[in-house]
């Protein structure tokens, strides 16, 4: 490496996040100030109906207005802009430390397209003739997803990945009900390295959950699955690659065995980013699968939503999908409610259209060649990081030693913690001082002191190197001066948070009014 190349990235030692010490909005209250005025009803209207309120039953009139703060408009703007600056969006940081979430670039042109009145000002019950554009996008995205997964039909109704899992559980239940086996088949099998919702959402539908654990390779063995299968098996819900980034090569054998036992197979494809155009749900034998459009398909995460899932099924399950589906006939797109054994609905209206539009745009901008390229580069980036992180003192990548991973890796700081007392949480806090985000992992921490990194295709080698430099620097500090790391962050928005009140019903404060009551300083007039 030449000298010039070495200087292409530099750790941001002088980084400091914006810190405004911004009060809570209620503390800005000045009686009489107005944020916005409401247009008044025209004189003719008032003349005809009076004040409107007198038509209400007396007991339904609000006697005292809501105790909302009264704040002028520019002050409100400033307040929220300052809060936004105290938030580290993916557009600002090298957002590879939030493994399992596929933090990729969300193109700004998509935001612009979604802000068009042609998107924002349409109503879901408009006559189909006035909504052909929206329906066309939904229908075409369905067809793209059929090709990417090999499934026969997609519903874009799921509000998120977890919602898609719940719909899978609902469809599994409807399917077994149709075949007279719902009561007998009351178990859903999943794995510990599949998302918590694969277990939790299935349980909402009344299923008993069997969670399979990995062996020393990080994989669930065929024998473990066989042991769990029985005539009570309703389905298997599994990710692949799992959250370790390890692809289960026996997956077709898994689905074969589950089918043999009379169960269905649902594929949580939250981790699809590394396998687009490489391998598909259909060939692996799945009956249902779903993609997360806010992950693999680029829609931004919005502080935790809006999200969208796309749920695909084989021919045998189309009749159980939620209504409506979007169909095309006689050169017209239409909403098809004629789904014989539909589970009904899981969300109001037809799906999260702005997110669906962004996913459609992303597929169109990559097309047949670059979709696979995106997947491959994401995998290259991941293995590049793996190669380098393995060399960092105190870090390790459990399981499958010497093997490559797909799109992410679950690492451990176990050694670092043993050597220095510095935990994953401490490292994440210190990384914030350099402008990085690092996350631990989903619970339970099967891997001790875990962290999961998923670089996607969006980040340049220089950025990956900068992130690695951050990890190395924090680890160096941990070995030299562990207390320094343990008291971090220093240059983030706030300092070490006191979590002790958050689990105590006497002290937790989920709203400002509850805080004022519990903190004994009820300032309300």
């Amino acid at each position: 490496m030449t000298q010039k190349e070495k200087k292409k990235y530099r750790l941001r030692e002088n980084f400091h996040q914006a810190k405004w010490d911004e009060p809570i909005i209620f503390e800005l209250h000045t009686p009489g100030e107005r944020g916005i005025l409401v247009t008044e009803a025209e004189p003719g209207v008032v003349e005809a109906v009076g004040n409107g309120i007198s038509a209400l039953p007396e007991n339904m009139i609000r006697k005292q207005g809501p105790a909302l703060p009264e704040v002028s408009q520019m002050r409100i703007l400033k307040h929220y802009l300052r809060l936004s600056q105290q938030c580290l969006g993916a557009d600002f940081n090298i957002d590879i430390g939030q493994g399992t979430c596929t933090m990729k670039y969300s193109p700004k042109i998509h935001k612009m397209l979604a802000a068009s009145p042609k998107v924002t000002e349409i109503h879901p019950w408009q006559d189909e003739s006035t909504i052909q554009g929206a329906l066309e996008i939904m229908h075409k995205l369905d067809i793209f997803f059929r090709e990417i997964s090999g499934m026969s039909r997609f519903s874009l109704q799921p509000s998120s990945g977890s919602a898609a899992i719940f719909i899978m559980a609902s469809m599994v239940h409807a399917f077994h009900t149709f075949h007279g086996e719902a009561e007998k088949r009351d178990e859903i099998i999943t794995t510990i390295f599949s998302h918590p919702s694969d277990a939790a959402a299935a349980a909402v539908k009344g299923y008993k959950i069997i969670t399979l654990y990995h062996d020393e390779d990080g994989l669930v063995s065929v024998d473990a699955l066989k042991e769990a299968l029985s005539d009570r098996t309703a389905a298997l819900f599994i990710t692949n690659p799992e959250d370790t980034g390890i692809f289960n090569p026996n997956i077709a054998e898994f689905t074969r065995l589950v089918h043999e036992a009379g169960g269905l197979c649902g594929y949580d494809q939250a981790n699809a980013n590394g396998i687009l155009g490489i391998t598909r749900a259909k060939e692996a034998g799945f009956d249902l699968c779903f993609f997360n459009l806010h992950k693999t398909f680029s829609s931004p995460h919005g502080c935790g939503g809006p999200a969208s899932g796309a749920l695909g099924v084989t021919d045998d399950l189309i009749d159980f999908l939620p209504v409506p589906l979007v169909d095309y006939e006689d050169e017209k797109y239409y909403l098809n409610y004629d789904i014989p054994h539909t589970i009904g609905k899981t969300r109001g209206f037809h799906g999260v259209f702005p997110v669906i539009l962004k996913a459609y745009s992303w597929v169109m901008s990559l097309g047949r060649a670059w979709l696979k390229e995106a997947a491959q580069v994401a995998v290259l980036n991941n293995n590049y990081l793996l190669e380098n992180i393995k060399k960092i003192r105190g870090a390790a990548s459990p399981f499958a030693a010497g093997k490559h991973r797909i799109e992410q890796v679950r690492y451990t700081w176990e050694q670092l913690t043993q050597d220095t007392g510095v935990t994953t949480e401490d490292v994440t806090c210190r990384m914030a001082d350099f402008g990085f985000h690092l996350w631990s992992s989903h619970h339970p921490f099967v891997v001790p002191q875990p962290f999961t990194i998923e670089p996607t295709e969006s980040y340049s080698k220089d950025e990956l190197d900068e992130y690695l430099e951050g990890l190395r620097t924090v680890v160096e500090e941990a070995y030299e001066d562990p207390e320094k790391v343990k008291h971090a962050p220093y240059r983030s928005v706030v300092h070490k948070i006191d979590h002790s009140t958050l689990d105590d019903p006497e002290k937790w404060a989920i709203t400002w009014r509850a805080y004022l009551k519990k903190d004994g300083k009820d300032k309300k007039e």
């Binding site: 247009t39 935001k111 042609k118 977890s162 692809f247 619970h443 706030v494 689990d503």
Partner: protein, 469 residues
């Protein structure tokens, strides 16, 4: 796959061939294919994906998508009277200004250190909604009203340890489908009839179906059909007498003028934040809220994130974090309460901005305007021969049922004719509420001018006398 040029996609920096080579060397493989060694041959997808050619130029993509979207005719290009859970309200400029900020739009799951602003904005949303509904606890938003109502019922099941819920038969049809699917087979859903004249819940039917197995009763106020349920206190009292909970779905924009459900005995209140500063977006920008009292038995049954305010190591500094995280599925998988994941946080932040802007006076002014405008519309429409509105003899908020049974046309015929005049008529109720015959649900808000309403009246008068079908 062969590509003719070293074409580098702007979204994939490391597709630069030299960089790729360098990285492959660092990893110690010759080809990216070698990294997929764990995927067996029989699972490898061998052919090229049958997808369209890429549109990697931003301008090409923009043209392509805009061309498709131009086939939509918007509510701004017409006069629309559609509502029913996705409502046209004025969206203040600052709402979009804030929710389009990259910091909020692209943040996700940062720690409460680097994402302090996200935690504070959502804590403030919870706090502002809490004032609106006059309760002490509000969640980080879930997907939508369907989910909020469904979860409220499952919370009631867990709180009371009872296996059946009662639901008013006037709730939104979509919502009823969602509730049924979310509750069954674990919780039985039983419908309660309404009074055909007033729309109000049939109290005799409620009493007859009440038992020690009922976890809660759910009704909406204003109802899906627009009328105001004035017997909320009686209904909640009946629930409480049997140890059940009163659960009320509410349109939050009504709460500047209407009494919040907590004032007439509701234990759990839910609804959608879309009317509070979020555009309609084809029904794709919803966010569900759930509110309760600050009691451990309620709080511990929420599946959602609940952000709490706390202290930090520095005196006077506010910090934030998750309250009772171990009740969630993130904490304990299937042993958690239902499930939690990415939902609708950005719309929660937006609703917070909206409520900050409106303040108590704005919410009252707006509520009053909507009452006046909708009452004016009902008055004008009922002057048309054969048209009867409101169909239910009760007070209404912003929606109302228009009865066309005495005209010679069906709602679908009428709406077709209105469409020709650039008007989106109200939602046809004939399929989902067959007992009503030919009725439609009309929505009138502050965005409608009296000219809009006059245009509707004229167009309706025309098409009811027209021979066209």
């Amino acid at each position: 796959m062969k590509k003719k040029d070293p074409f580098v996609h702007p979204y994939i920096p490391n597709s630069v061939p030299e960089v790729k080579t360098k990285m492959l060397e660092a990893v110690g493989v010759k080809d990216i294919e070698d990294l997929y060694e764990d995927i067996p041959e029989h699972l490898r997808f061998k052919r090229e994906l049958n997808l369209p050619e890429a549109l990697p130029s931003e301008l090409d993509l923009k043209r392509h998508v805009e061309k498709i979207l131009s086939k939509n005719k918007t509510c701004q290009e017409s006069i629309s009277f559609l509502g029913g859970g996705c409502w046209p309200h004025y969206v203040p400029a600052i709402c979009d200004e804030i929710n389009q900020r990259s910091e909020f739009l692209t943040a996700y799951a940062g720690e409460p250190y680097e994402d302090h602003g996200r935690f504070q904005a959502l804590f403030e949303y919870q706090s502002l909604m809490a004032e609106l509904v006059d309760m002490d606890i509000v969640n980080v938003p879930t997907y939508d009203w369907c989910q909020a109502a469904s979860t409220s019922l499952r919370m009631a099941e867990r709180i009371t340890q009872r296996g059946e819920v009662l639901v008013a038969d006037t709730v939104a049809p979509d919502r009823l489908l969602a509730i049924r699917n979310y509750c069954e087979p674990v919780v039985k859903v039983t419908l309660i009839k309404h009074c055909p004249e007033t729309g109000l819940l049939d109290l005799d039917d409620l009493k007859a179906k009440m038992s020690k197995n009922i976890a809660g009763i759910y009704f909406e106020n204003p109802s899906f059909l627009g009328f105001i349920e004035s017997k909320g206190q009686v209904i909640c009292d009946i629930a409480h007498e049997s140890g059940a909970l009163g659960i009320v779905g509410v349109d939050p924009i009504s709460l500047g003028v209407l009494a919040p459900p907590s004032h007439y005995g509701a234990d759990i209140v839910c609804g959608d934040v879309q009317p509070l500063g979020v555009h309609m977006n084809y029904g794709g920008a919803l966010g569900g809220f759930i509110a309760t009292r600050d009691e451990e038995r309620f709080v511990m049954e929420y599946p959602s994130r609940l952000f709490g305010i706390t202290k930090t190591s520095v005196d006077g500094e506010y910090g934030f974090g998750d309250v009772a995280y171990d009740r969630t599925s993130f904490g304990v998988r299937e042993r958690g309460k239902e499930f939690v994941g990415t939902a609708a946080a950005l719309w929660g932040i937006t609703a917070g901005v909206y409520l900050s802007l409106m303040g108590p006076k704005g919410m009252k002014d707006l509520g009053q305007h909507i009452l006046q405008k909708s009452q004016y519309a009902m008055k004008r429409l009922s002057e048309i021969e054969g048209v009867k509105t409101p169909r239910f003899a009760s007070a209404h908020f912003k929606e109302f049922v228009v009865d066309f049974n005495d005209t010679k046309k069906s709602v679908s015929q009428i709406n077709r004719l209105l469409l020709k005049q650039g008007i989106f008529g109200g939602k046809d109720l004939s399929l989902e509420f067959p007992d009503l015959g030919q009725c439609a649900l009309y929505c009138v808000t502050e965005i409608h001018t009296n000219e809009d309403i006059d245009s509707l009246v004229n167009a309706l008068t025309d098409c009811l006398t027209s021979k066209d079908e």
